[in-house]
Subunit: 224 residues, 4 copies
DNA sequence: TATGAATGAGGTTTCATTCAT
DNA sequence: CATGAATGAAACCTCATTCAT
């Protein structure tokens, strides 16, 4: 990368590097900065990441970030809203398409796992900094969207119980929390380059929990 | 309480109050400070809590904390090691006492849930600040203890499979992670004064996951 | 106006708009920028106004200002020197035309009030930022011109005393300061659209001070 | 002063200096810092003075100021409210004591002039930064107090007209503005060590304006 | 032991200015 | 000429820690 060539204090080198990079458009640059920041947020969290670190990782001075973003929070905002917009849309499309609660739930779980890797930063921030951010007016929407997501999942669970395909002794709100938390928290240790692919991860997880949810959920139907 | 006597700005009154309080031994004072800090850490996290906040909450000036602790990290250290020492001892005692894997796993889960409330701060720190702290030499033991705990849980799962009482298609390491994460992460929203007691919470959770682990795990044995 | 055509974020549209506007000559453009800046300086002061604000108000990017001006100070320079050149010329013409000190003084006061509105920015800057600017070599002329102005006013006052038409116990330098300050400072609250026109304002002021300056200054001549 | 002994980077020297200074109590130190800041504010204005400058002038690091004050604004707040509290009390006592409008007005003017030197910073801030500060919630009281002061002065002027001792063609609100502005603005150039004492200044000013206010205000009574 | 003033590094943000395109 | 990304210094402020009293 250009950044690695750069020597601190050498503005000549710096300028050359800039020239080499600057083929990209404004929105591309902005997007690149968001991605750099996201990586750092995913690694260390939002508050623990400094704008100077973001700048260094992006090969610019921290002040330059403010040409593209109003504040550090604005970067987080972009990361979070991109994630939440997408995931809500996806969840909605899943429950629209799959009327069977068991299938719908499996697809929701798979979608949630699939979002881990591309949205590592957003999920990390939501887990660690949620209570801090939710107090800020700028992030008031977080609570709203979370409620929306919860309603979608809980409705699937409720429907499953009503139809007689899910265990009726489940506390559906609680079950949703357990499901979501266990998936999301995996963002901390899940590395797609590791032992397991995200699909394998989702399958293992579904094995673990679906037998506790569905009345008759073994892959091989029971014969008794 | 002494605190009510205190008039803002009157350091004389402050000193008297201190004197009245200081009937307690040094280790009692230390313990009280740890508890105050723990509450704040549980609420806001380790890095987000300032030593000044701890001092204020404890009724002393921030500088005074350094007579009892080397650093802010030392307080976290005390909180974490107390928790980890206790939970490891408890887990060991459980697996010693219960040779049946199903029972042992249920007890481990119940113990984990039971630790949420008394060790809210430790668990919060482990979740949010673990990666930051684990890099510090002082907290090198974190990884060791975590490995120890994992071995205990995984051994129970492995034994269950070997004995034929647990599903043999479970990835035991992964299953441990899912189990632990879903329990721990509940520290964020579980309030014992709320809708559910910790026992009810554990029961709901066991219902959800044990059917996915045990081959025949309904509380009421199936009669067909 | 071109501004209404512009869509935020569309640089293409922006460029077209620029083209449409650029029928004006370079000096016209420069003059327009000065006026935009002046309005902002008058409202918020010189230092508190950023070049970005100027650019936005003028419909260009801040960097573009530097094609017309060396620096932000250069804009202030233009505003100040335009004002000072004009006012000095006017004062000189007044004292040339009116040999009677009373009439001359009245005209000076009226001219000073009349300058408030068209030169709000210059007067605001001179009041709030004078000491900061006067240290810069570029603004060394400020002190010179101010001395020149003072000499003009004081000479009128001295002449009035020498001729026996002004109170002889006046400290003329001090009186000048009082007169000038009270007029200039009105720039902060005087709004020509308000209760009073600039002429009415000047008249009220003359009523207040001329009786303290002239020996016999009532509008209706005294008969004793 | 201790500060002059200090060499940058020499913490030994620094510590000695601190020791020599530290005979003072907390509130004394606070007061000393306010005075240091006030001097700088008076010289350069509130915004143009940096906390580093205040720190340097006080012989501490800028961060140390925040041990005593919440913010730079808090320092200005202290300066302003001290001034305003005092001047309002003084004005009230004057109008209470002097029922004759002429005498009362003279005393108000004298009090205003007398406040110039001890409250140079407050008056400078009020003149240059008023519109900026008044928008901040913390300084909402500024407008209130200013209104109170205006009412006091205007009432004296109104009473004088009603009693027939002041010219009835005065716009009293406007006259108040002229009076106050001309006095306050003198803070910029008045140096008590200069040619004139504050009393002489007030006298000259009274000579200038009182003849325009009172119907019969010559020192030597007219005989017609 | 407690105080509380001070440190000093580092946090986010602002802004006049430069310059390749 | 205009753009707009970048600079880099400097702004205000925070905070764990130290230390003389």
């Amino acid at each position: 990368m250009a950044a690695t060539k750069r020597q601190a204090g050498s503005s000549a080198t710096r300028t050359e590097a800039r020239a080499a990079e600057s083929k990209q458009s404004s929105s591309q640059r902005r997007q690149a900065l968001v991605e750099v920041a996201a990586e750092l947020f995913a690694e260390s969290g939002f508050r623990a990441t400094t704008v100077r670190q973001i700048g260094e990782a992006a090969g610019v001075f921290s002040g330059s970030l403010y040409h593209h973003f109003d504040s550090k929070e604005a970067i987080a905002d972009e990361i979070l809203s991109t994630y939440l917009d997408g995931i809500v849309r996806e969840y909605k499309s899943i429950v629209k398409e799959h009327t069977d609660p068991g299938t719908a739930l499996r697809e929701l779980v798979r979608a949630a796992f699939a979002s881990l890797e591309p949205h590592r930063a957003a999920i990390t921030i939501l887990q660690n900094e949620r209570s801090y951010l939710a107090e800020l007016p700028r992030f008031a929407y977080l609570t709203k969207v979370e409620n929306e997501v919860r309603r979608i999942w809980v409705k699937v669970l409720d429907t499953g119980i009503a139809q007689g395909s899910f265990h009726k002794d489940l506390d559906t709100k609680l079950t949703y929390q357990f499901l979501r938390d266990a998936i999301w928290v995996a963002v901390r240790w899940f590395a797609p380059s590791g032992r397991l692919s995200v699909d394998q991860l989702a399958d293992q997880y579904l094995k673990l929990v679906m037998r506790g949810i569905e009345l008759d959920s073994d892959e091989a139907p029971r014969l008794w």
